[in-house]
Amino acid sequence: LHGGDAPPDAERRVFTHESPDPVHASMFRLYERYSKEPQSRRSGNTVRSFRAVPGVLNGKDVFQFNLSTVPNSEVILLASLHFLHQRPRQRPWRFRRPRHSPGGPHPVPVRLLFYGSSQGSAFGKPLGNATVASFTKGSWQTADVTAAARHAQDIKEPLMAVEVDVGSMAVQGQQRSAQERPPLTELPYILVYADDTAIDEPNSVATTLQRYGPSPAGEGMANSASRIRRELHLQAHANHIPEVHFSNLKSQELWQNTYFPDKTKTGRKQLSGEGGAKPQVLSFDERTMKKARRR
């Protein structure tokens, strides 16, 4: 934290993220758009991305999406499935929309079938279907899967499987053998646009972004060390006695009391039980008290 009275300087870190990973690229593009217009709530206040995991359902190759992280407080406004269709083998794949030319790829309709796949049975629960009317080979396609995503949320189905029925055609990944997994950059993904009704509640930022406190006991020692390294360094130069342990304990206690009340209460009860009950108020002998009063 850098406090002070100085006016805000113009220096800001700008993100020019050009990742070959389409999920990263899409999310960073959205971040830039939402940062420019944070007040606009047309697309909701939350966008979640879900990368596909190739799987088999009903004996067919499917793409599975784990939507379990979407909480009930998030009202799904829109969900879109993005998938790459049959890479042209002659040309290297590039994350770019191909130009449509008269002699280029021809549109082919594609049918998407959605299933809930977490019931443990070999057959998934149908969640709906969709058809992508205009479909061009070798490019990223987008399909509206809002109804299926909402249905999955309504029936509390965390796993959604998508089967791409293209007849003789095949979606990138399905045309490969079972052992050959498509590369990460070619896997389909889902973007879920939602309005999180809980985001206006107090501490919403900590609820989603605070993971385990700044200095968790017994875990992430490397992380906590890296977090305090700068402070230690400054103190060494200033020839001050580092108060790392004290501040760590203090901050840890603060975080735990604020965000993990149940755990700490139990932990403390156990601790106090082991070490003997200690009074809440400090007590001193009469001589010390007299000295203090005189002072």
């Binding site: 934290l1 850098h2 406090g3 002070g4 009275d5 100085a6 006016p7 805000p8 800001r12 870190r13 993100f15 999920v23 990263h24 999310m27 960073f28 959205l30 971040y31 939402y34 940062s35 944070p38 007040q39 709530r41 206040n45 939350t46 966008v47 979640r48 991305s49 879900f50 990368r51 784990n66 379990s68 992280t69 999180d196 985001i199 206006d200 919403s204 930022v205 989603t208 972004l209 605070q210 993971r211 406190g213 700044p214 200095s215 992380n223 906590s224 977090r227």
Partner: protein, 109 residues
Amino acid sequence: QWSEPRVCSRRYLRVDFADIGWSEWVLAPKSFDAYYCAGTCGFPIPKVARPSNHATIQSIVRAVGIVPGIPEPCCVPDKTSPLSVLFLDPDRNMVLKVYPGMAVETCAC
């Protein structure tokens, strides 16, 4: 100069997510201008401190001193702005959220 009381106003504060231990999962922004409010709201509160009517009354009551224990009105954020944050959820999926009230726009008594 810090020992002298200064009227309630917005002060500069940049928060770096690395400093609060969130940089491991917060992808963007790395830091942002959060600002903070500080300063006194003592009687008489100047207009620049944008006192609410209640703050004005409380300040007068305190100055008169009839009711004991009434503190000075507080200097608090009056208007705030949201912040878009791109982060990884526990499943390592990228999530974008627009959090309200993340940066102070104006302060008031």
